[in-house]
Point group: C2
Chain length 468, copies 2
């Protein structure tokens, strides 16, 4: 064999080996109560330059969904690849709510650690028990200051012990916070914003006149005042992302790191958070790094948070053969604009707070979406922050016939057992097709689909098809 060809073969071999051995770091960046409100999602007002930059060199998902629009339960889904009805984490973990995963559940950080990863979390955790959601390292940081959080991750990035890393980076922004902005006549919630700001953060403020009011919210002065606060909080997240990227680059690991940016669920307004309407289910979802082959592309591949753990484990080469996730890895398809086998997701919400029982099960198939409100006899329960939300109270006080987004206050509170929407023709879910004879066959099919999903995933509430 001539020397040149031998050398070429050697180089090829080396390249193959280096692919095998390439650091496969992962950063999972999860924001709090955040709809896909960002420049890259078509909002010209909200300033998110770093997220937009990530999208420009990554892949942006347009049909990514949570499976439950409640912080704690959703995080348990993200970290286990199991619907919360099957991992035991039916609702909030903290205080008297006291939900937690079954001891037998194997979480993403534990599986990655077993596969040779070093693992760390910074910011909001909100899952239990600790043994199930074990991380090697807990990096300190104010979850309202993503810039500080990012700064605190520097050591973790540079402390290379030969193992790839997994960082779970969770902001508390743009969640609602305590109190009101007293100097504003509409007394909006501050969404974590404070008059003195946060060290290292350049607060970006917004004029309520400029914000875009999503159609599931009421276009009122109070709502606009609240959205301006929310925008400011989102801009803080964006700066944290920028700082994180800066540190990854400085540590020389940026190109070796898969970054997934998403939120636990949609915006903290009635109509968003806690509901499985589009305002609650739709999340920002941007993927950047080694697995991306079409930088700057947009995909219609339909994914949900149950897919996150299997995908990350797949990327890590650590997908356990004997483990039954409810989701699946989208690693081989997400660079495509669309995929016929990625056109269906399910969602399952049962509790927010322990006092807020309202089990809902959802199947989204193509353009259609069926919501089963299992406890539809009950008034829709309110997360305490949503009940107190000035935007809600402002409409609620005016009585049940007041419009709140696409429905009245009364319709928001009292829901039918089944809600069937054509999400393409009616993206804001104003027209329930469940009683429309033209859709009877589709309704029946989707009900069957839903019950099969419940059986397949061991959903205790499946029995409600038969009991009562």
């Amino acid at each position: 064999m001539p020397g040149g060809r031998l050398f070429a073969a050697f180089v090829l071999l080396l390249a193959a080996a280096s692919v095998e051995a390439a650091p496969r770091n992962v950063v999972l960046f999860v924001t709090d109560d955040h709809s896909p409100d960002a420049g890259c999602y078509g909002n010209p007002v909200l300033k998110t330059p770093h997220l937009d930059e990530l999208a420009r060199s990554g892949v942006r998902f347009e049909r990514a969904y949570c499976t439950t629009a409640s912080c704690s339960a959703s995080r348990s889904v993200i970290l286990t690849g199991l619907h919360n009805h099957a991992n035991g984490h039916y609702g909030h973990e903290h205080a008297y709510h006291h939900f937690r995963a079954f001891d037998r559940v194997q979480s993403l950080p534990v599986l990655l650690e077993k596969a040779g990863y070093r693992t760390a979390q910074v910011g909001k955790l909100h899952v239990a028990p600790k043994e199930v959601f074990h991380f090697e390292t807990a990096i300190p940081g104010n979850a309202r200051n993503p810039v500080q959080m990012a700064d605190n991750c520097q050591k973790f990035f540079s402390a290379n012990d030969g193992r790839p890393f997994f960082l779970y980076f969770c902001t508390a922004d743009p969640h609602r916070s305590g109190g009101v902005v007293a100097e504003n006549e509409h007394r909006p919630n501050p969404f974590g914003n404070t008059p003195r700001g946060y060290p290292g953060v350049d607060e970006v403020t917004y004029d309520p006149q400029d914000v875009l009011v999503p159609p599931f919210l009421p276009d009122t002065p109070v709502c606009r005042a609240e959205l301006a606060q929310y925008y400011q909080s989102v801009s803080r997240v964006d700066q944290g992302l920028g700082r994180l990227v800066q540190h990854l680059k400085a540590a020389g690991v940026f190109d070796d790191t898969l970054i997934i940016f998403t939120s636990d669920h949609g915006i903290a307004f009635p109509g968003g958070k806690t509901t499985l309407y589009q305002g609650g289910m739709t999340v920002p979802f941007i993927v950047h790094g080694p697995a991306v082959t079409r930088p700057g592309s947009v995909t219609q591949v339909m994914v949900s948070h149950v897919d996150l753990s299997p995908t990350i484990l797949d990327f890590a080469g650590a997908l356990p053969k004997d483990h039954q996730f409810h989701g699946r890895s989208w690693l081989k398809v997400f660079n495509q604009p669309d995929h016929e086998n990625w056109n269906e997701v399910h969602a399952s919400h049962t509790f927010h707070e322990i006092t807020m029982y309202y089990p809902m099960r959802v199947v989204r198939q193509g353009r259609y979406k069926l919501i089963w409100n299992i406890a539809h006899d009950l008034p829709y329960p309110f997360a305490s922050d949503l009940w107190e939300a000035p935007t809600w109270q402002d409409c609620y006080r005016q009585g049940p016939d007041t419009m709140y987004g696409q429905r009245t206050v009364g319709q928001y509170i009292h829901r039918p057992e089944f809600e069937l929407f054509d999400v393409e023709a009616d993206p804001h879910e104003a027209r329930n097709l469940a009683d429309d004879p033209k859709h009877a066959e589709r309704l029946a099919e989707l009900k069957t689909n839903l019950q099969q999903f419940q059986k397949r995933t061991g959903d205790p509430w499946e029995l409600k098809w038969r009991y009562e």
Copy 2:
């Protein structure tokens, strides 16, 4: 001082010292889904000679109540002196239900162990986590064979290491069991009875013609067939009690041992178990041993299961000063026929199974009882064993207007928000006085009482007075 008086003083001193040092053993005997159905409670058919004997030399309570008519939650109340809405054990512990007490809760066995007791449990436990409900010793035994359970306690009784003992003895009788009695035309549930019986147990069988049908159940052939099975299961419990007493006597500790006999809640029929009607709340309650000063007496002192832990700790001289129980010790009053300050109890039920959300709060004050059905919009959820109960299905199949005890099937399933009963004039709770103008003032008072109780005991569902 003359020798005679000195001697007398010395004897008195000795007596006082020996009272101080007297072994203060405790046996807490808890049966499963058992109403006060026994000879000593006025049932001439049901054979419970050993319980009757215990009552003849002990004190029998006629107004003793559980606080939640669900096995797991009720046991958490018994062992903590806290309502389940405050100890975190809101419902079933096992399988996917996954409820458990807060880690911070200090349970009866742990407090007794700290106070120098040796502690053991035998039979059904049904509470979690283990660390909170720690017993030094777990004595093996088939919970369906109380005689065997008692035999297995012999070593524990005789193994005197100088410490007094606490034994938590819990049968699975007379709970419903799997399957049906196939050879009986009515196919009743066997309530744990098997054709081959249990080693050491002389099965006592009953003729369905002879059983007493409580007025909250339908007097149907199916119900009678089921009650005959239930009676047989109760007689098995009684034999276990007899054997236990025999072993306590043989070990020479019977006279030094406080025995408390009760059940977790009422009989496993719709109208009993899971409800807070009298059929669910009323429990057998007999106390025997050192603290009894009027053997064979009956008391109207009104107690509930939250009083059990503080009373036992009081008896043990181990009532912690800094511990806030929801109940209180009845040790100083239970030998009296009645007591004006013991005429009120509260109850709090939220879940049976995790899928069976139906929070109810109750105040019983003298002859009046108020039930607040917080989720009254929902159909009343059925424990799976009650749903399948042949007695229920037999009525349910006949339609919503069929009588089931004192109410129709439809009324049983759909309940008003408030139910106010005069339990003395109307012991089977057939007449709801909540809408009766004559009782408007009483209703208002009891509502206030209930809300104050909820505030005082940190009940998360207190917010339902304000939200929704």
